[in-house]
């Protein structure tokens, strides 16, 4: 895998894409390895000790033609507020690309991509990549209400299944419910092969989807989150519980993308 490096590179654009969600586009240095869906970067949002640590964000898009990369981020605290204040030509200090990518589906499988909340970035990146490789994925995306959904033009992402907790747009309910009814209504025999799930979003959604995938015998690739220190595998800070003797895996190095069956989902405290 091409290796990571630190780049200080200019912002190209920074715009609101949904309530509290922004898309930051920045120049991608020519010498930098091309990021793949599922991989992430860390940003130092200000040269200060508050916030102290770099913050991780998944790539949401990469464009070879204009050498730009993007992330979609939600306003949460200090670092994301500082990101939101960045203007074109401001430098951003990134460490990238980091972590594992989503394994691309076998040609005879049907990829179903599921995003909730801040999981939207990597899922849209994967969707675009698959489409560019002529594999039409089905995208299911959830938000609290209509305002939390970014624009998802059908000509770019195919027919997207949108869900909102309050029913203000699309399916009224969670992405897990939407997935269940999608799987029910769509006979598996329509496909030459199996379905495969790609997920990113809040932990309860991932855990519930994992259980549904187990039920249906479908493989699910989940992109996880954990508070990070180094983001390069050195500090053991970003551990998540996994099955097996090692007990923990590092999100920054073994992940962020894991086969959902390797994860120890007992607890919801991360």
């Amino acid at each position: 895998m091409p290796s990571m490096a630190r780049y200080v590179t200019p912002v190209l654009s920074n715009r609101s894409v949904a309530d509290d969600f922004y898309e930051l586009q920045f120049n991608w240095p020519a010498e930098a390895p091309v990021p793949r869906p599922g991989q992430f970067l860390t940003i130092r949002s200000a040269a200060s000790s508050v916030p102290l640590l770099r913050r991780p964000f998944a790539f949401s898009r990469f464009d070879r033609d204009d050498n730009s990369a993007r992330i979609i981020y939600q306003l949460r605290g200090t670092a994301t507020a500082q990101l939101a204040a960045k203007r074109p030509f401001d430098p951003v200090d990134v460490l990238a690309p980091l972590g594992t990518a989503f394994p691309l589906p076998e040609s005879d499988t049907r990829p179903i991509l599921i995003a909730g909340g801040i999981g939207v970035g990597p899922i849209l990146f994967l969707a675009r990549t698959l489409i560019a490789h002529a594999t039409a994925p089905r995208v299911i995306i959830g938000a609290r209400s209509a305002g939390g959904l970014p624009p998802l033009p059908a000509e770019e992402y195919g027919e997207v299944i949108a869900c909102t907790d309050d029913g203000s747009y699309g399916h009224h309910g969670t992405v897990v419910e939407a997935l269940r009814s999608y799987l029910a209504t769509t006979s598996i025999s329509n496909y030459s092969g199996e379905s495969v799930l790609y997920l990113c979003g809040p932990e309860p959604m991932l855990a519930a989807t994992h259980r549904l995938a187990l039920e249906c015998g479908i493989t699910a690739h989940v992109a996880l989150e954990q508070t990070m220190g180094c983001a390069v595998g050195a500090c053991m800070g970003c551990a998540v519980r996994v099955r097996g003797p090692e007990k923990y895996a590092r999100v920054c190095t073994e992940g962020p993308v894991f086969d959902s069956r390797t994860i120890d989902w007992r607890s919801t405290t991360w």
Binding site: S3, M4, A5, R6, R44, S49, V50, P51, L52, L53, R54, L95, Q226, T227, M228, G229, C230, A231, V232, G233, A234, C235, M236, G237, C238, A239, V240, R241, E246, K247, Y248, T253, T269, W270
Partner: protein
């Protein structure tokens, strides 16, 4: 040109800027990111006899100008350290210092004894101060008698530089430093992390599952500087300063306070190239003040 080398016991560091234990893994993790040649000393993640999975998660939380960690000495253990990590470390030109930890005295002796013959290991940093291990750990580093006896036992096992890493969570760090010196240590490192805690008021629980963790980062800079200032006046052996360095000026402060060398910990996460910036600042500072050796910086404090 300022002479950057630093003597510690029987060994010499090429320069006074090291990377702190637990923040730099076993070196290979940073290989792609920075030029390892410019590091003065690489202090490995703690090595214990057995591998340890580490503490429950989450293990890190940010605090004002700092962070708490509760890694719990997660490490591959002696066996896999030798087979998987040492081969890479052999290729590193910087001094490789193995950070040694354990639950009891025996564990420390086992690690040093087992690795004693490894040429690629420059020296030992004895971690008697990790706040995240229940049995041993903190208690050991707070008792001068235990520190002295452990140090002198280790001294019989190795001629290599033997460095004892001190905890700031004591009433008088100079008594522990003197105990280490008495036991035959070649240097002491100040400071390990402070005991700290943060509570998630939304979820009504400590953020770290174990309750408390170890505080590091710029928040502790003043505490580390005070420790080095005092300890370097209490012992004859060199003091290695660590704690809160985020800017080259912070490292210069440690050298002025009396440190013979410094380590960068948390700042590696934020700016992996920081040791290079520090090195340049030290050279400039030494030249500006017309010093021949980096050691002289401590002598120009007014």
């Amino acid at each position: 040109m300022v002479d950057l080398t630093v003597s510690i016991g029987s060994g010499t560091l090429r320069n006074p800027v090291g990377v702190a234990s637990g923040t730099f893994g076993y070196g290979s993790e940073y290989e792609k990111l920075i030029d390892l040649n410019t590091i003065g000393a690489l202090f490995t993640k703690a090595v214990t006899p057995e591998s340890r999975p580490g503490n429950d998660v989450p293990r890190i939380v940010e605090t004002p100008s700092g962070m708490l960690n509760s890694i719990g000495l997660a490490n591959v253990g002696l066996e896999r350290f030798t087979s998987e990590k040492l081969p890479f470390l052999k290729s590193v030109p910087s001094a490789v210092v193995v950070n040694v930890a354990g639950a009891e005295q025996r564990d420390y002796l086992t690690v040093v004894e087992t690795l004693a013959a490894e040429d690629s290991i420059w020296g030992w940093e004895i971690n008697v101060s990790c706040p995240n291990v229940k049995c041993g750990g903190l208690a050991l580093g707070t008792d001068p008698a235990l520190v002295e006896s452990l140090t002198s036992e280790l001294r019989t096992l190795t001629e290599k530089p033997l460095i004892v890493k001190l905890t700031p969570n004591v009433t008088d760090i100079t008594t522990i430093a003197r105990a280490a010196e008495q036991g035959g240590a070649d240097a002491v490192t100040c400071i390990n992390t402070l005991v700290g805690m943060l509570i998630d008021t939304e979820h009504r629980r400590p953020v770290l599952p174990g309750g408390t963790g170890g505080l590091s980062g710029p928040a502790v800079l003043p505490v580390g500087l005070a420790a080095v200032y005092r300890v370097s006046r209490a012992v004859e052996i060199p003091v290695i300063g660590v704690g809160g360095i985020l800017e080259p000026d912070h490292a210069l402060q440690y050298l002025l306070a009396g440190a013979a060398a410094v380590q960068v910990g948390t700042a590696n996460f934020i700016d992996p190239q920081i040791h290079q910036r520090i090195l340049e600042a030290i050279e400039k500072y030494g030249e500006r003040h017309k010093l021949r050796t980096v050691r002289e910086i401590g002598s120009i404090l007014l």
